[in-house]
Symmetry: C2
Subunit: 224 residues, 2 copies
């Protein structure tokens, strides 16, 4: 499903090169429950941005669903991403001008789903993450962990093939975190490929494969 | 130092009342290392907003440093807060148009500190949180955990009497988190009052008093 060969990513800042990823080789198969851990600044979010096609590598090969991503133009890339991947950003990235329900409906709106069905599907997902009584709150009227759960619901509403979540439980207490991880475990059993970044061992223990990043490289891998 | 009596906070939304805090009684003495835990949505950030004078209670009494906060006008309240409290927000609240160094200098700029001393103090604090090589990065050019550490440095730069930090390690790996907590423990020994919100037991164990919030009330308190 996902194959990375010698992937490098350099950021340029005032002429200085920040080598965020220094040669990543990785394969992720369909249906896997995969987790990345590592120190702050080790390159986890940068790697998530490349796998999710939000950014392009400086060099190296990336094959997604059999397609060489470097050969795709911007529109084809966005189309492949919207169809395949659900994204939960580290900073949530919710629209502050839309309610919780409207935020979760957004991917369905882009997908051309009719209104009645859109509202029904979005509502079900918000109830599933425990926010059935917060549908009409705007992000600034929600707690940190509630905003995070709206972002999780939005990433799942389009029934993607792959869920990519960057620190999805960073603002959640352990009970709410367990509820979310149990939901992802069930979805994974039903066929969803899950790729997580976390710093919490209690979250990593749900996954079958844990990769440890250090200074832009994969230090080691553990299979559970 | 801080005394709350029957504090209540209601949010109004489309005519519906959301009772975020339902009668809080709490005293925090100078030099304490105090921690709040509780489920997502239980009212922790709302209580932090009231204690830090970022928001006013719907009813109840709040005495800060011997002053009845409800008797202070907006300017007097802001002055008391800037002089006394360093704040780390759950969503960092960094200025995206300023570099890491400029963000940490900001409280000193408001305080009228001359430029040379301002840059020196801000730089020292950024080095202390492990970001000496990221001074001129903008927030969007920093990882999530690096942004969080800039927010921690900014809250400490004015040598406040009280540090209030809402989930300060939510984006940090355990080693970086331990480094930050060791720094706060040392500052607490030197006299800094620390008030934390966290969902991580490994962070709560640094504090001497842990309060558990549930549905807008204090459920129980534990002394370590
Ligand atoms: N501006 C607002 N308008 C309406 N309701 C709000 C507003 N801000 C917060 N709330 C609600 O008040 C409750 C308490 O919110 P608060 O942010 O204090 O929770 P919290 O304990 O910090 O949660 P978390 O751990 O998820 O950050 C939540 O249910 C939230 O939906
Ligand atoms: N736009 C950018 N320009 C310059 N440097 C950047 C940029 N984005 C990230 N970096 C740097 O690249 C490195 C990797 O960042 P990344 O966000 O991938 O780390 P991370 O592992 O996700 O960290 P965290 O756990 O703190 O979120 C960091 O040192 C960061 O400062
Ligand atoms: Mg990150
Ligand atoms: Mg909160």
């Amino acid at each position: 499903l996902i194959r990375l060969e010698e992937i490098k990513k350099d950021y340029r800042l005032d002429g200085v090169i920040v080598p965020a990823l220094q040669g990543i080789n990785l394969e992720i198969n369909q249906g896997e429950f995969f987790c990345m851990m590592g120190a702050s600044g080790s390159g986890k979010s940068t790697l998530m941005n490349l796998i999710s096609c939000m950014d392009r590598p400086t060099s190296g090969k990336y094959i997604l669903e059999g397609e060489d991503v470097s050969q795709l133009d911007k529109n084809a890339l966005a189309h492949l991403r919207n169809k395949t991947i659900g994204l939960v950003f580290q900073n949530f990235n919710l629209l502050s001008s839309a309610t919780a329900l409207e935020n979760v409906e957004l991917p369905l709106l882009y997908g051309g789903v009719p209104a009645v069905e859109r509202v029904k599907t979005a509502k079900q997902l918000l109830e599933k993450v425990g926010l059935g009584d917060r549908l009409h709150h705007y992000p600034t009227q929600l707690s940190g962990g509630q905003q995070q759960r709206v972002a999780i619901a939005r990433a799942l509403v389009n029934s993607p093939k792959i869920l990519m979540a960057d620190e999805p439980t960073g603002n959640l207490d352990s009970q709410t975190s367990d509820d979310i991880m149990a939901m992802l475990t069930q979805l994974n059993k039903d066929g969803l490929t899950v790729i997580l970044v976390t710093h919490e061992p209690d979250v990593a223990r749900y996954s079958k494969r844990v990769v440890l990043m250090k200074d832009g490289k994969i230090l080691k891998e553990e299979k559970r």
